[in-house]
Symmetry: C2
Subunit: 213 residues, 2 copies
Amino acid sequence: MTLEIPEVVINRLPVYARALAALAMDGETVVSSQTLGERLDVTPAQIRKDLSYFGRFGKQGRGYNVLGLLAKLREILGLDRKWQVALVGVGRLGQAIAEYGGFEPQGFQIVAVFDSDPAAVGTTVNEVVVRDSEELDTFLRQNPVDIGVVAVPAHAAQQVVDRLVNAGIRAILNYAPMMPHVPLDVAVRNIDPVLAMQSMTFYIKRQDLTGAK
Amino acid sequence: MTLEIPEVVINRLPVYARALAALAMDGETVVSSQTLGERLDVTPAQIRKDLSYFGRFGKQGRGYNVLGLLAKLREILGLDRKWQVALVGVGRLGQAIAEYGGFEPQGFQIVAVFDSDPAAVGTTVNEVVVRDSEELDTFLRQNPVDIGVVAVPAHAAQQVVDRLVNAGIRAILNYAPMMPHVPLDVAVRNIDPVLAMQSMTFYIKRQDLTGAK
DNA sequence: TCCCTGTTGTTACGGATTTCACAACCGTAG
DNA sequence: CTACGGTTGTGAAATCCGTAACAACAGGGA
């Protein structure tokens, strides 16, 4: 029953949750799939269908209780608790990630940072001491870490991913410009702005007879 | 005939292109859909199908000429030329983007940077002077810019997106944690690490009885 | 030349996802 | 207490996408 929920559906739930949080901020107490859909550019039917995978949360004629549905989604997604994150790579990108303030408020705590560069090891990034990558395996086995964030050069990324996986990590946020190879039971999300740009250019290349010839 | 190419297909092309570039680096001159697929965790059939939307690039019994196919893909995607990028928002995130070295080598040049904070205006980020956001519209009309990158707080993002769109920008890379509303002919890609994490937690929440032993 | 191996391009199939459409229902107003 | 406007939850239909399968063909070797 709870099985076979499409991944696309799971990917949309956090979007709904965020919108609901915003609505709650605005003081809204009830919202219909129609209204929510307009906000998110999603059809009302899709929202209702997505939610129906998990239960019946609405009230006919009224819509959904904003706070109630938000709580439900957070529970479904496991956002009702804190998550421990380990960051590997403290180059420019890694530092930016460590110092990014968006994770903490959502319950994602960077509890450990690793780098293979001896010059970086021992320094502090956002109040966390940088450890030697060699310690990665032992640290992960001794401390509860749920999610690994990879911010190393592409050529080193697969090795890092392998080590994370071998140490039991089952969720990886990959910033390296490559597609990691992982077992089926490991979740991976790639953050790849260059790929994103490179697919957009297809759509804008037609026109743009701009300036330079 | 060339119309109605699924967006998912377009999104995979840059991945193929990147893999081909890597193969070329390794000195490979020919590659089969089989081999390429193994590298990327994609079925050979999918690769062939994707490519078939654009033409016939392979040779039976041999496979694809690495350099030849790469050139074709770059042409299809419009990667065979330079693209001008404008960045809006020079907070921590915006600075990290401006200083990120991954765009330039792929032909994406940040030619202008904007911020609404008077304290930031006039400073230099990665050799580009920060302009006042007020100048956004006039600048975009007078200078060829192809892609807009949004790195402002969520509450200000829609307004920035609207201004970019009104100024004729038709491709937007959005780093703000929100879903921008844009006309159908504008391409948008969202970079949202928090959403990515929030969907992964669904898959790892089952086990992980935290810390234990 | 002819056969054998390997691989493409493509069509047909099937599965996955989205959209449609509507019965069931809630709350309110009369 | 009944009627009505509004909205959900959901099966069925439609669409979109991926996979399988195979005829066609290239190159090499006998």
